[in-house]
Symmetry: C2
Subunit: 374 residues, 2 copies
Amino acid sequence: MTSPFTLHARSSRCPARCGEVKTLHGTILTPVFMPVGTQATVKGVTPENLLDIGAQIILANTYHLFLRPVHELIRGFGCLHRFMNWHGPILTDSGGFQIYSLKELARITEEGAAFKSHLDGSSLFLSPEDAVAVQEALGSDIMMCLDTCIPYPASRDEAEKATALTARWAKRCRAAQHQTGQLLFGIVQGGMYPDLRARSVLDMTEIGFDGYALGGLSVGEPTELMYDMTGRTAELLPAAFPKYVMGVGTPEDLVECVMRGIDMFDCVMPTRNARNGMLFTSRGRLVIKNACYYNDARPVDENCTCYTCRNYSRAYLRHLYMAREIMASQLNTIHNLHYFVHLMADMRRAIGADRFEIFRKEFYDMREQQLPPG
Amino acid sequence: MTSPFTLHARSSRCPARCGEVKTLHGTILTPVFMPVGTQATVKGVTPENLLDIGAQIILANTYHLFLRPVHELIRGFGCLHRFMNWHGPILTDSGGFQIYSLKELARITEEGAAFKSHLDGSSLFLSPEDAVAVQEALGSDIMMCLDTCIPYPASRDEAEKATALTARWAKRCRAAQHQTGQLLFGIVQGGMYPDLRARSVLDMTEIGFDGYALGGLSVGEPTELMYDMTGRTAELLPAAFPKYVMGVGTPEDLVECVMRGIDMFDCVMPTRNARNGMLFTSRGRLVIKNACYYNDARPVDENCTCYTCRNYSRAYLRHLYMAREIMASQLNTIHNLHYFVHLMADMRRAIGADRFEIFRKEFYDMREQQLPPG
């Protein structure tokens, strides 16, 4: 099993590492944050904005594209890249997490997931084989296996059954895959049970994938438990392959998980919060609608070089937000994604210079926020 | 009275003309279409998008900025240009038309317009002097006099009174103006009564302005009547000054009014219709949600060179629109504004080459639509 991952450097004091992942549409430097483009667009920003921000790879949601159904459309276009005018790498999730989020609208069987569309209530079915077929139709660079997410809290029995089913589905996904050059990642489940996580790692590495993701985290468990589970699982995964924590997280989460050896992240937080007027800065969070910004001529973050901070004041951003202008979403999204993407670049540089611990201390000092234990 | 207008060429067969208008933030080539940026942003597009489209000047609405109140904020920023990061010319309207649109929420007296904010119901008052003061605070390149718009239909008595009041207000606006270098345009009213329009032209030219606008058109009257009133009024206005029809119009309206000697236009149609999925093309209108575009790989307009048409298919635009994505508004707005702005550039070239009549015939031939009489 050859790996798409090449290690560039690792910290001498913690599992943090930097490297690169080769994909069909280009090589990405890790650790990397992937902006989420749910419906074949990262809400509020153009592909040119994404390039300008420094985004290397984006994530698209199989569930949302399957529903519309965009994957059928894509067959006529060649690939999702051309359809949406993003010519860099794309990772598609499998739809498993969205189906899990449907709760009582979904029913999981050995065969796959039966669920009702949240758009029109129509009955749909997605098997592990279907999930791969849809992702092959989309032509994504990195495909994810269909998995069953485990809620928090969950009984040991529930977690054990779901973890075993995820393994059987993963095997079917690998078998269903064609030789397209697309990478396929397995997803480690196991809930908050370390031995089940270890078991899931064995299941997945036995099948053998191009990379490994940690699923079922950030589902309501305490942050410390998430960090602990991430660290324990990451160290069991083969060092030669990319390690990806799905759906994580806050800037603090990214720093903590990189410290624990994670290479890849995705989260809707920077884009969704941007639309809600919450901006990330090197000094913490800023809620743009607050009255104190009414006539504040400063940029959102004086340490930021993004398009928004170079050209617009907090007062203007507050005006746009209060006036419910589309431009509020555009400018806030550019800023937040720039913050996340550049935070990862800063971490890559710190790891390369073997000063990640110093970087981490400065990161918390800046926000006058206590270092978490670990 | 020196004029900011310089004539470049005029048609040998009709009043169509091309030239330029000098303003504080640059010279604009006419005939020109001004995208509307109601609340200090042209909805869905960045200033860089506007430059890329070829927009030369934008319009901002005094009423909306007065309400928030952005003009108070702007005093700390220097000018609206800096606040919104648009460094080209800006025309501000006076608020008169928006107040007219409030109907029973507004009361017009000799002193000015009392009205209730559509945002919070608060009682506000705008005199002609206030309208100038607000526009001076905004620092726009072209200010408009406060006027009283006349509904259609209106009795002769009603039209006469409103036209006379508009004249008295115009005098007060001119008197209230400081030496800021900002241009001030008078607005010709008169309803659909040619002699009242003529009277209003006399009133305005007697006061003397940097340019003259035709107000109270496109308020519900038949299109032919609007064209007729535009032609009759335009020919009475002094040729040395810019002529502007406010709030007009469709691509057909632009062609017809340019033929009648108009230099400047603004309208929310390209931007508003874009957000509603209606796209303008050289062959007519296209409603992007229609099922026939589901897998249509062609651009919106095969004759168009805009960012949207260069990079995206009708199928993708339909997908974005159906999925209610922000990007739908962005891409559709870029296309529609590009269409309007380039239609004006085409007309300037045609007039310069004294082939406007041929241009007009081709414009209608392309859309397989009959030439209107005139």
